[in-house]
């Protein structure tokens, strides 16, 4: 048999024959919306973080070996050694840099990246269906694969020919000479669903890239894809001596500032949304306080019937706790529900294209993390209990004799 004060607290929130009191319903809804806001935002931010991380890994590789920004000439031996590691799924020599590309006099300035057509496996996971139109096999020294959004921007399509100018061309032309553009045929379109790649990257063969950048046989970096991406840092440390004097970094190091912005964004949004829960807890506190004043006589009578001050404290704190717990759980359930229909909501509210334009992805990514759910629930429940504590103290301080006089 549970204590009577639990019974009273429960009944005050869920009265007999009325189901749920207006105060309890509104309070629970307020907390649920707060938790929805908090947990929903965190889950979306986690989704962004996870998806961006995955896309960054896909496009840059897990481990990158460089030579302080200078081209690497003796790379073949290193590549062979690194390829021999069982942890390495793919090792690719890579050159990349900005170029000017024109089609029908529309200039764009994408990043041109090499794609090793000779080796079996590239660091770019093409098996994920990145090629949407055309064929990857058709990529040779005279062709190019355009990012899909880049192609749209240029109004170019598969089969068209684009002109490419590299910075090295300007260095190599003499006075009063005009650099000759490299004419490359578009053989496929690349769609990674990562806006910064799809709208800003084009792929050419390694040989063509070396030529465009006057690299000779050199490359800019060696990129590795690992079997277990989570081991990237350990692996980087292991090979750093072997590849010395080349420097080894992970995808995390390469994108540190970008990822920290996303983390910071998550933190800031969480802090702002926490205010919603704090406001909800203020409302609960005020409502409970009003309830204490309204129930002066009942409280006095309970004291006369044998209730102790701590029983009265428990009644009101428990109401806060119940609102917190039920509101938090309802908030979690609401989050899952809203996130389930997120695509339709995004479609209605902002439209997919605008989402892709600003947030890199054409669909809203979501990743639930237990720690976020736990923190949101504990915070909401703690605040609600605290909100109940202040009126509880007021009620407990009431003397039965005084309370009965108030009638």
């Amino acid at each position: 048999m549970f204590p009577w004060w639990i019974y009273v607290a429960f009944k005050q929130m869920f009265p007999s024959r009325r189901g749920v009191s207006f105060f309890a319903a509104v309070s629970i809804l307020g907390v649920a919306l707060g938790v929805l806001g908090l947990f929903g935002t965190q889950s979306v931010m986690n989704g962004f973080h996870a998806k961006i991380s995955q896309k960054l890994r896909d496009t840059t590789g897990d481990v990158i070996i460089k030579q302080g920004g200078r081209p690497i000439s003796e790379w073949k031996g290193v590549l062979e050694k690194l390829s021999a590691y069982p942890e390495v799924v793919a090792a690719e020599p890579c050159a990349k840099g900005p170029v000017m590309m024109t089609f029908n006099r529309v200039p764009v300035f994408p990043i041109l990246r090499s794609y090793d057509t000779i080796r079996d496996k590239s660091v770019l996971p093409m098996e994920k269906g990145f090629i949407r139109l055309g064929k990857l096999d058709e990529l040779d020294d005279d062709s190019v694969i355009l990012g899909q959004r880049l192609a749209y921007a240029m109004r170019a399509n598969v089969g068209d020919t684009v002109e490419v100018y590299s910075p090295a061309m300007l260095d190599n032309v003499g006075k009063d000479e005009i650099p000759m553009a490299a004419r490359l045929k578009v053989v496929a379109l690349l769609r990674t669903d990562f806006s910064s790649v799809d709208s800003n990257v084009a792929l050419v063969s390694l040989r063509r890239m070396q030529e465009l950048y006057s690299l000779g046989d050199s490359i800019h970096e060696i990129c590795l894809r690992l079997k277990d991406p989570s081991m990237d840092e350990d692996f980087a440390i292991r090979i750093s001596k072997e590849v010395s004097p080349l420097s080894v970094s992970t995808w995390l190091d390469a994108n540190e500032s970008f990822l920290s912005v996303i983390k910071m964004e998550k933190t800031m949004m969480s802090i702002i949304i926490l205010l919603i829960i704090i406001v909800a807890s203020f409302s609960i506190c005020i409502s409970l306080y009003t309830s204490v004043l309204r129930k002066t006589r009942e409280t006095g009578l309970m004291c006369a019937m044998g209730a102790r001050p701590w029983h009265i404290i428990c009644i009101y704190c428990l109401q806060g706790l119940l609102i917190g717990v039920v509101g938090s759980l309802a908030g979690l359930a609401l989050t899952v529900l809203v996130m389930h229909f997120r695509e339709s909501l995004v479609e209605i509210m902002v439209g997919r294209e605008r989402l892709a334009e600003f947030y890199y992805f054409s669909s809203l990514p979501v990743k639930y993390e237990f720690a976020d759910a736990w923190r949101a629930c504990v915070f909401a429940t703690g605040l609600c209990t605290l909100a109940g504590f202040i009126p509880a103290l007021r009620a407990a301080a009431m003397r039965a004799s005084e309370a009965m006089r108030n009638e």
């Binding site: 005050q12 009325r18 006369a304 044998g306």
Partner: protein
Amino acid sequence: MNNPADDNSAPKEQDSACGYQNGGGIPREDMYGAGAKVQIENAVNADKEIGAGEDLSKGTPVLEAIDITKSFPSPDGGKLEVLRGASIKIHRAQSVSLMGESGAGKTTFMNAVSALERIDGGSIFWDGERIDKLFSGAQAARRARFMGFVFQSYCLVPELDALENVMLSARIAGLYKPFKTRKAARDLLEKVGLKDRLKYLPSKLSGGEKQRVAIARALINSPSLLLADEPTGNLDETTGEEIMDMFLRLCSSEGASLLLITHNPDFAKRTDKALKMSKGIILPS
């Protein structure tokens, strides 16, 4: 009236970890020693002045209050003496009414004898056990089982139906047993004429019905003493009559003693003993 218990220190707020101060829960003869017996008898004699013609063969009084004093701070910084040595003795199954003009100290006296209010001086015994010096927690625990209250405003918990309101008193007293208490509550509500209103919330009951529920609630723990402060004050004359009839009948049938505070001389006449209070003192009847 001399107070034989004056030698004891005035009741203070509890300071003992176990909840008792000197003498808490000890029969008064044992507490004061053999020498004190004479003083206690004096107190009984003093009581004779109050309750003329009462039968002392009834044994240990259910309630005995001796020379109770109580004052409150007044707005001008002084003291407002509300009780100035009020005494009372109520025996088992005896009904006593207390009348007096407004401000005479009736409600304060009721709060004092029920240990809802700390007293400045005097002593209070419930079934022979000195109560006024107990820790408030111990007082509350004893009060829950020993006393029932009926107030002018019914003080029903609005979220509970009639049956639940009656059972709440048993829950608080720790006497709740799911089937037994429910049956007892049903029986009591039937006795007060609310057989068809068991599941009604207070908001759906009339004033008379609410007071009937409050009476059933006061009786659910089979208390030794019922304290009723103007129980018909909010009711019309006819309903008040009905309620009072039923109340007195039930007190009698349940064997509970009654201290009734009322302004109605007709109701007072129907109790075993009618007392008057004036300026903080209970006058000889």
